[in-house]
Symmetry: C2
Subunit: 220 residues, 2 copies
DNA sequence: TAGATTGTTAATCGATTAACAATC
DNA sequence: TAGATTGTTAATCGATTAACAATC
């Protein structure tokens, strides 16, 4: 049996499992929106696009939230997955780089729905600073440290061109954010205590191209 | 020794390796831009943010493109990785859903630099159809099949809200694309012969939140 | 030759899958 | 009780790491 510390958290959830939890949460919320009260690992797995065995294994790292022979209570499981993901507390986010992508991110309504508040927009260009985007006034880059501290920002999003990304990253780390999500097409360096995730759209397309090349090469 | 089929391709490159190849290509291109002619697995690994052992192991799946005691020729290795990724042929891309994100993607210059041509923009809304974005006139959703066939589109990008995503996905599959990149926050279902990659920005933030929660819970 | 660095092997590690006992 | 479904165990599979022989 797994030992649960008194705060209800469970130790050592594998990274691969953590990466799938948001998908489970989405599927659970979709079920709740359809007024489904109880679900099974089979149903939920189909919705989330994984195997039932993997779903049960993943959930077992969080605790025992199902009932054998019955299934899972949608509302309860959703809450527990949310707790595991640390969504009980709303995280405050700063977006750095208000170009096309930064604009799109600032206007994305999906953040608020899923536990995040964009509390500041920052850009290096004087032409952009002072403009209003998604109800927020864009602030200059040299205010970044102040913003992070005074508004208790824990996550920074980098939507700058590749050239400035590492500097912005360093500034965010210096300012004390816990995690960084970057869209800049460049490998970034962070100290071990800061969590970094990188999304590179062109890289995603290149991975698709690899499989396309396989297909055409083999005549499939 | 690995057997190389006559077309120069190598069989069975592991998925985890494929996913890292674009990063290697980026790092190589950055070196080339700095007029570096020869590199080592140590240098390249640092640039790409992986270990030298992993880099060499990954490259070994593609073939033997280095020289022992010397290192790798930057231009040659870059070319070979590009070939492995199928970038010799330019892929044509259609973007479906021209909201904030679709707009940003349409205007992203990084695609052309990295082997992709956005040849069509499609949207379901009559208010958007007919407008010009990034030099392309937005076309109606019911033209999708025609567009894919007549313009030889092999990759579809879904930037619609979650609600319409599966229908768009089905239409893309029906039209015959080889790969799909989706930004919609919903699990999509594709047949086995179609390659699907999903980017969900809010999920990325939730994964960061998980680690942040660990940190604060343990008082780190 | 001596030094450097690759490509590959073997060992370790982590993730997935399948099967089933526990239990509702 | 009989049927259903979880939570867990054990087996399989794949990915990473470390070490080093090959070789430039």
């Amino acid at each position: 049996m797994v030992i649960h510390p008194t705060n209800g958290a469970v130790r050592a959830v594998p990274p691969a499992t953590v990466a799938r939890l948001p998908g489970y949460l989405r599927a659970l919320d979709a079920l709740a929106a359809e007024d489904v009260v109880t679900t099974s690992s089979d149903e939920l797995a189909v919705r989330a696009g994984v195997s039932p065995a993997q779903l049960r294994k993943d959930l077992s790292f969080l605790g025992s939230y199902g009932r054998r022979g019955v299934g899972y209570d949608v509302a309860h499981l959703s809450e527990q997955v949310g707790v595991a993901l640390g969504l009980a507390t709303q995280r405050r986010v700063v977006i750095v780089g208000i170009g096309n992508l930064g604009h799109a991110l600032a206007n994305y309504s999906g953040f608020a729905d899923r536990g995040f508040a964009v509390v500041a927009l920052v850009d290096a260009s004087p032409a952009v600073v002072g403009t209003t985007v998604a109800g927020l006034v864009v602030e200059p880059l040299d205010q970044l440290a102040d913003i992070v501290t005074s508004r208790d920002v824990s996550i920074g999003v980098i939507a700058t061109p590749a050239a400035g990304a590492q500097d912005v990253c360093d500034a965010l780390v210096q300012a004390g954010v816990a995690g960084i999500l970057t869209f800049a097409p460049r490998a970034l360096r962070v100290p071990e205590h800061v969590d970094l995730r990188a999304v590179d759209v062109a890289s995603e397309l290149q991975i698709l191209a690899f499989h396309d090349a396989r297909r055409t090469a083999t005549g499939a």
